[in-house]
Amino acid sequence: MTTTDRPQPSVQAKEAQPGGLSPLRRMTSGLTARQPGGSGSTLLRHLVWVLVGAVIVYFVSYGIEPFRNYQFATVAAYLCVTVGLTMLTGLNGQLSLGHSAFMAVGAYTVALLQNEFSDRNILGNWTLLVSLPLGVLAAALAGALIGVCAARLRGPYLAGVTLAVALVVPAFTTYFSSVFNADQGLSVYVEPAPAALGPYFPPERWQAWIAILCAMITLLLVANLIRSRFGRSFKAVRDDEIAAKLSGIHVARTQILAFVVSAACAGIGGGVIAVITQNVSPSVFGLTLSLNLLLAIVLGGLGSMFGAVWGALLLVFLPYLTTQMTRDVELSPSLSRNLEGNLPLALFGLILIIMMLLAPTGIQGAFRKLGMIIRRRMSRPRRSEAN
């Protein structure tokens, strides 16, 4: 708390100063430079945000139907991933098409550990406290491996390597099919909700709690990281590598670090998905998922934590809404034969196009712009009064 009044170290202050805006920087709307020292302890501020969020979610989970709880659990799982990815792409300027593979690493680790525990008759919900962190660790290790390559590559070449990572997952599970059971995947043993919560406690609510807890922890850690020295290095490297190097930042090390953290986030997201769906299979973590994740962070608003939240919400609710909207359309049998299944997809595509036209900086960018317009409107009369 006392850090408030302490003068900022000079290196940090230098890094935080926004210089001329690079094109990528201008695209990432979520990054208004905060005045150093202006808003108190970052950790405490984030902690309060997260606690308020957790309390809201806790009570909301009681007020909604089991299926909505399941949907929120899925949102939370994706949120872990989009937060990490938006940090990597939005803040560090690295593109990854391989995040579904890191999710798979986390998910399979959790699956294998949970099943191992239950085979050895070690039961209880606490096993998740072992398997989930180990899933994160495994994903982080995989991230470090890829990150070392990634630090040497730029633009399309980086995209190419990470694409290969995403594509290798099904082949891997097939090659070692005695462990991963090929295309069919594994079912994951997950203990039911503690009996203390009552006999009719919906399992979906319990899953939502686990997922949201993980998402909150991830959000807290990443938000703090971004506001720290590392976060500023990330941005410096993204904006101008040479300038960053001149300021004493180790570029490759910074890029690898961003990759590892981002992969770890994907690992926890994958692990949570394994827990809430109680099943892992390679086609869940296919290339489509990687592309969808990228789509989500761009649509949500690249580089901002709120953008990551919007993105995770979109990933779950947009396909759901398009299916719901097209369901009640009554068509003749011959017409529905051609349209069934394709109509929601067409609507999905249409919505994406409209959103990109209306809000090229993503949902968060649009809100920011709206906020600015309102603020300007509000301040204008005051200024005229002064005149």
């Binding site: 708390m1 408030t4 108190g40 302890s41 405490l44 309060v48 945000w49 606690l51 308020v52 309390v55 809201i56 009570f59 909301v60 009681y62 007020g63 139907e65 089991p66 299926f67 399941y70 949907q71 899925t74 099904p170 082949a171 097939t174 059971n181 090929a182 295309d183 069919q184 995947g185 079912s187 009552g198 006999p199 009719y200 406690f201 919906p202 399992p203 979906e204 998905i273 769906t277 109680q278 099943n279 299979s281 086609s283 869940v284 296919g286 998922l289 759901y320 299916t323 369901r327 003749s332 049998p333 011959s334 017409l335 529905s336 034969r337 069934e340 299944g341 394709n342 929601p344 997809l345």
Partner: protein, 433 residues
């Protein structure tokens, strides 16, 4: 900073107070009890079923025609007054053959749409992932569209029932035919690297013994060619290849063999032997299909003399927009017919427990060649199959219907005569007590 903290805590506290009053205890779900009044998905005028199908994506070719055919049959029955005065509603969700989508969609169907039962969910990897959820919700899970043996575990999954013959039964019947027809020839097996291929091989080995199958090859659906596998068969000198493959890989196998100038006798699983689908895939090379031996459990779509085909064609014209008539439509309509039979047996007071009990009472007879094996201890579907052959570009069934089990039981002829459909095309089964 303090201001933010104080403000946050104040907001949280207010919310806590506001919502605690609303959220107290969870009530018991109302699905229990014996009366129809509070059974999910059942009203006095309607029964709602849900399903997950690959309407788009890699498995959609052919399979996307199944659920519209089932729906068409339900519409046909609804037009004649429904079942005990209740119309059947069928909610079809597209999972694109992606297990992640299946997870979400089945939860949506059960928890949000509150369907009475899941019907004919398609695919081994997709449906395997939702078995535990379905069990925890006590939802009837009828006639899964896959021949995995997983559906037949009445102790573990008491509400799940299979439909088509499982792949082990199929493997045994194919192998038995090969043993009798091509004695002394070298037999090999090609299979998909999941339950489908593994169960099929298990069936073949029950007949030939593990050493009786000279070369065993596997593939996964992400492969683009089967040339290495077929090369291995050629090297091993295989004369008969028994194949547990989906249509795309049956076609690839035939193509790879043709390129090597290699002509084994193919005996292909019902899953991957539909003449119409295979000719479409092979295009100009469809001559390769000549002489292919297949195995089936439903009448073949081109068999105009079969009364079931005549009935289905009529319904296809009146309720399915006259879709191109193939084996997938025969499959879908038979699922619809079987479902109506089960509902009739379950009686007027429809409950989930009652429906499960009605199916376990067994004794279903319809278009299927062999018997349905449903009983209290057996949740597997059809147990009998008939061999078929493509000659002159036409696929036709021949010989007797065989039946067997997935254990060590012998393959024997099923002698009971085929049944004809009732004249109005709606089953007449009566409620069991």
């Amino acid at each position: 900073m303090h201001r933010i903290a104080v403000r946050g805590i104040a907001i949280a506290a207010c919310l806590a107070l506001a919502v605690t009053t609303a959220a107290c205890s969870d009530e018991a779900p109302s699905s229990g009890g014996g009366s129809t009044a509070n059974v999910p998905g059942v009203t006095d005028t309607e029964i709602t079923f849900g399903t997950h199908q690959p309407l788009t994506g890699p498995a959609s070719a052919g399979y996307s025609k199944i659920s519209p055919a089932t729906k068409a049959y339900f519409d046909y029955v609804n037009a004649a007054g429904g079942v005990y005065g209740r119309k059947i509603k069928y909610l079809v969700e597209d999972d694109g053959y992606n297990p992640a989508n299946t997870q979400t969609l089945v939860r949506k169907l059960v928890l949000e749409d509150k369907v009475f039962a899941i019907l004919n969910g398609l695919g081994t990897p997709t449906h395997t992932g939702v078995l535990d959820f379905i069990k925890s919700q006590n939802v009837p899970d009828l006639f899964v569209a896959s021949g995995s043996r997983s559906w037949n575990q009445p102790d573990k999954y008491p509400t799940t029932f299979g439909y088509q013959p499982d792949y082990t039964v199929e493997g045994k019947i194919m192998a038995d035919y090969v043993k009798k027809t091509y004695p002394g020839q070298v037999v090999c097996h090609l299979g998909q690297d999941d339950d489908f291929g593994r169960d099929s091989l298990a069936g073949v080995e029950r007949v030939f013994g593990a050493s009786g199958v000279k070369e065993k090859q596997k593939y996964v659906t992400s492969m683009t060619t089967l040339a290495p596998q077929i090369g291995a068969f050629k090297t091993a000198g295989c004369q008969v290849i028994i194949s547990g493959t989906i249509p795309g890989f049956t076609a690839r196998g035939l193509g790879a063999a043709a390129q090597l100038g290699y002509k084994p006798q193919w005996v292909v699983s019902s899953v991957g032997a539909d003449n119409l689908t295979l000719s479409g895939l092979l295009g100009a090379n469809k001559g390769l299909l000549e002489g292919l031996i297949s195995v089936g459990y439903l009448p073949i779509a081109v068999d105009e003399s079969n009364p079931w085909i005549q009935l289905y064609k009529k319904i296809n014209a009146s309720n399915n927009g006259n879709a191109p008539f193939d084996n997938n439509i025969v499959y879908g309509m038979t699922v619809g017919y079987l479902t109506v039979q089960a509902l009739l047996k379950a009686g007027k007071n429809l409950t989930r427990e009652g429906l499960v009990k009605a199916i376990e009472s067994g004794g279903f007879k319809n278009a299927a060649a062999g018997p349905y094996r449903f009983s209290k201890t057996d949740h597997s579907g059809i147990g009998g199959m008939q061999m078929g052959k493509i000659s002159g570009g036409v696929q036709a069934a021949f010989g007797p219907v065989y039946e067997t089990d997935d254990g060590d039981g012998a393959v024997k002829e099923y002698t009971e005569a085929a049944t004809a459909p009732p004249s109005n095309g709606i089953p007449t089964d009566t409620a069991v007590k």
